[in-house]
């Protein structure tokens, strides 16, 4: 092979590879931010490649940051209720003024108590939804799903899946037992052991997002505790019978936020990314991400989303839903460990 041929092949290979960008932005994210449909407009507009690493659970995210060097990460997605934990450990940088204007936000998800610490805002809420009860309405009486008690009634034994995330499910078990998420301390937790074990006995499986979606979609189970629009919306086109509701006892409100990581060498670019994600266009793309759907925090996204998309997101019902939902539990380290011990016991028995 001649040198000319080698050069031609190398040039061809370079052309086939990923597009070359002037710089990189490293983002520690949840899977909805990995959708190219979301990232592509920002990458093109700023001539930047967004490198993403997915993580699950705040503890894992914080551990990743702990083991990284300053500058390794520029932005991160984090549970809005956990922003304080990250700030306490010095992982987040203050958001520059005007990064995410909240004038058009749903007021209930501003969550200023959580994202603003001592007068400084560290994160912008970007997306929210509910951990409640998802079900297949062709196999389940929707009237039963108006109360969490149906899951302990025996009627759906063997047809239930539990979403494998301890915070929302323990929150829901607590709501069924009359314990608000804000009161979920170590003492209250012990009272939830029996109902949790009963729920496990009535369930077929405990599964992650993909496992839960597969189980509901294939009819392996008919009810998913901990599920919500984030799980059924992506399956809506294939199976419109997959539905969700917030029972009379309430549901759990999840809200994710986006923050700049302390030590980033590209604070302006990181702020631009947050600006884009919280803009109406970014919000609409994030809300309908291929990994999971969820309500955009910025109401202005409603101008970009189609009516069909808004129907799936239950746009018009949000006012009522938000009054009935409670925030995730925010356990201290000891309570968090006790919750995880209880969860491990449930999985193992």
């Amino acid at each position: 092979m001649t040198f000319k041929h080698s050069c031609a092949i190398a040039a061809l290979m370079a052309g086939l590879g990923p597009a070359a960008y002037a710089e990189d932005l490293n983002a520690l994210i949840w899977c909805d931010h990995a959708d190219p449909e979301l990232l592509e407009p920002f990458e093109t507009a700023h001539d930047v490649r967004v490198n993403v690493k997915e993580y699950e659970g705040t503890a894992a995210g914080l551990t990743l940051l702990e083991q990284s060097r300053p500058g390794d990460w520029d932005v991160m997605v984090i549970d809005a209720v956990d922003v304080g934990r990250a700030v306490e450990r010095g992982f987040l940088a203050p958001l520059p003024e005007g990064t995410a204007p909240t004038a058009d936000y749903f007021p209930e998800v501003l969550l200023e108590d959580h994202v603003t610490i001592n007068g400084t805002t560290y994160a912008a809420v970007e997306k929210f939804g509910y951990n409640t009860v998802a079900y297949n309405k062709s196999a389940v009486d929707p009237a039963d799903m108006t109360s969490l008690a149906a899951l302990w009634s025996g009627k759906y034994d063997g047809r239930i899946a539990i979403y494998d995330y301890y915070l929302p499910v323990l929150g829901l078990v607590g709501l069924n037992a009359g314990v608000d998420t804000t009161d979920l301390d170590a003492a209250a937790l012990e009272t939830l052991r029996d109902p949790l074990m009963q729920l496990k006995a009535a369930s077929k499986q405990v599964s992650d997002v993909v496992g839960s979606q597969t189980a509901l979609a294939t009819g392996e189970v008919d009810v998913l505790i901990g599920g919500g629009e984030w799980l059924t919306a992506v399956l809506n086109a294939e199976n419109p019978d997959l539905d969700w509701t917030i029972p009379e006892e309430g549901g759990l409100l999840w809200a994710q936020s986006l923050a700049i990581v302390e030590g980033t060498e590209k604070p302006e670019l990181a702020a631009e990314f947050i600006k884009y994600v919280t803009s109406p266009e970014g919000q609409a793309r994030l809300a309908t991400s291929s990994c999971y759907w969820g309500m955009p925090a910025n109401k202005a996204a409603g101008d970009v989303l189609s009516d069909a998309q808004k129907d799936i997101l239950r746009w018009d019902d949000q006012a009522e839903y938000l009054t009935r939902a409670q925030l995730y539990p925010v356990p201290d380290a000891d309570t968090d460990a006790a919750m995880q011990d209880l969860w491990t016991d449930m999985l193992q028995n």
Binding site: S207, Q340, L347
Partner: protein
């Protein structure tokens, strides 16, 4: 320099890359993991220490201790079933399948290796589900009145594992079988042994190295696997790798994850020690 000294120097030079490789990619990480296993979590912070608290907890906390037994039970079941299925399969391929078809049969045998582990496990999830192929067939044939649950049970995990490891064992046993001279069987038959006696008293003992090597590989790969029990087991019981992932992914408890990993390695080491006398790789 004497020839002896020269040979010694050459030997050291030849061994050094392998030693360095082992040092950098095994001894150093293992040492770091062992050190980490002696630390502990205080709140959400890792505190370096030199206590055996994590190990003590593994053997006293019922959920963690059960993880060891669940792993051992599943691995033992998978290994035994895989050996029982793989030996006759390997024997049939080596002795009953015509030479010209053997390559094709072996190719079919290794087909499961061509697909991703995750894809294979999710495929089994669909096959073993209540509305999957197996249940539809059994109910359709009238063998079952209604579907029974296989998916999200230990049976599903074992099925997923056996599918993979039967093929691995078939290859190790087959390669052992084809090295055996046909004269062994002929001599036994000349001395009046029946076909069954030839297999039981001559062929089977001679294939022990292949069986043990395959069984050991099955044991090691099965006990360390996270994907199959996670997808097929439905999280209804946790194996050691699942417990390790829980510590890493959920709790950020690297010390406990390290201690569990050391326990896992100790189990594998014990399995090696128990089977070492039969592990003759040169005969496989």
């Amino acid at each position: 320099m004497s020839i002896e000294a020269q040979e010694k120097r050459q030997g050291v030079a030849l061994v050094t890359p392998a030693l360095l490789w082992t040092l950098v990619f095994f001894a150093v990480p293992f040492g770091a993991m062992a050190l980490m296993s002696l630390a502990h979590l205080e709140g959400r912070e890792i505190v370096q220490g030199h206590d055996l608290g994590n190990y003590l907890r593994i053997f006293t906390d019922p959920s963690l201790r059960r993880g060891i037994f669940v792993s051992l039970e599943i691995t033992a079941t998978v290994t035994v079933i895989s050996v029982l299925l793989a030996w006759p399969l390997a024997w049939i391929i080596a002795t009953r399948v015509p030479q010209r078809w053997r390559r094709m049969v072996l190719l079919l045998a290794v087909l499961p290796f061509w697909t991703s582990y995750v894809v294979r496990s999710y495929s089994w999830a669909l096959v073993l589900g209540e509305k999957g192929v197996v249940m539809n067939a059994l109910v359709g044939l009238g063998l079952l009145a209604e579907p029974v649950q296989i998916m999200a049970t230990r049976a599903a995990t074992v099925t997923g594992f056996v599918h993979f490891f039967v093929m691995l064992l078939t290859l190790t046993i087959y390669s052992n079988l084809i090295q055996l001279s046909p004269n062994y069987a002929r001599a036994a038959q000349d001395l009046g042994a029946s076909q069954w006696q030839v297999i039981r008293l001559v062929i089977l003992p001679l294939t022990l190295p292949g069986v043990m090597t395959g069984a050991f590989l099955t044991f090691v790969l099965c006990i360390g696997d996270y994907i199959t029990p996670q997808i097929l087991g439905g999280n209804n019981e946790l194996t050691l790798p699942q417990l390790i992932m829980l510590q890493l992914g959920r709790r950020g408890d690297y010390p406990m994850a390290s201690a569990l990993s050391i326990v896992l390695m100790a189990i594998v080491t014990l399995a090696y020690a128990a089977s070492a006398r039969w592990l003759k790789m040169e005969r496989v």
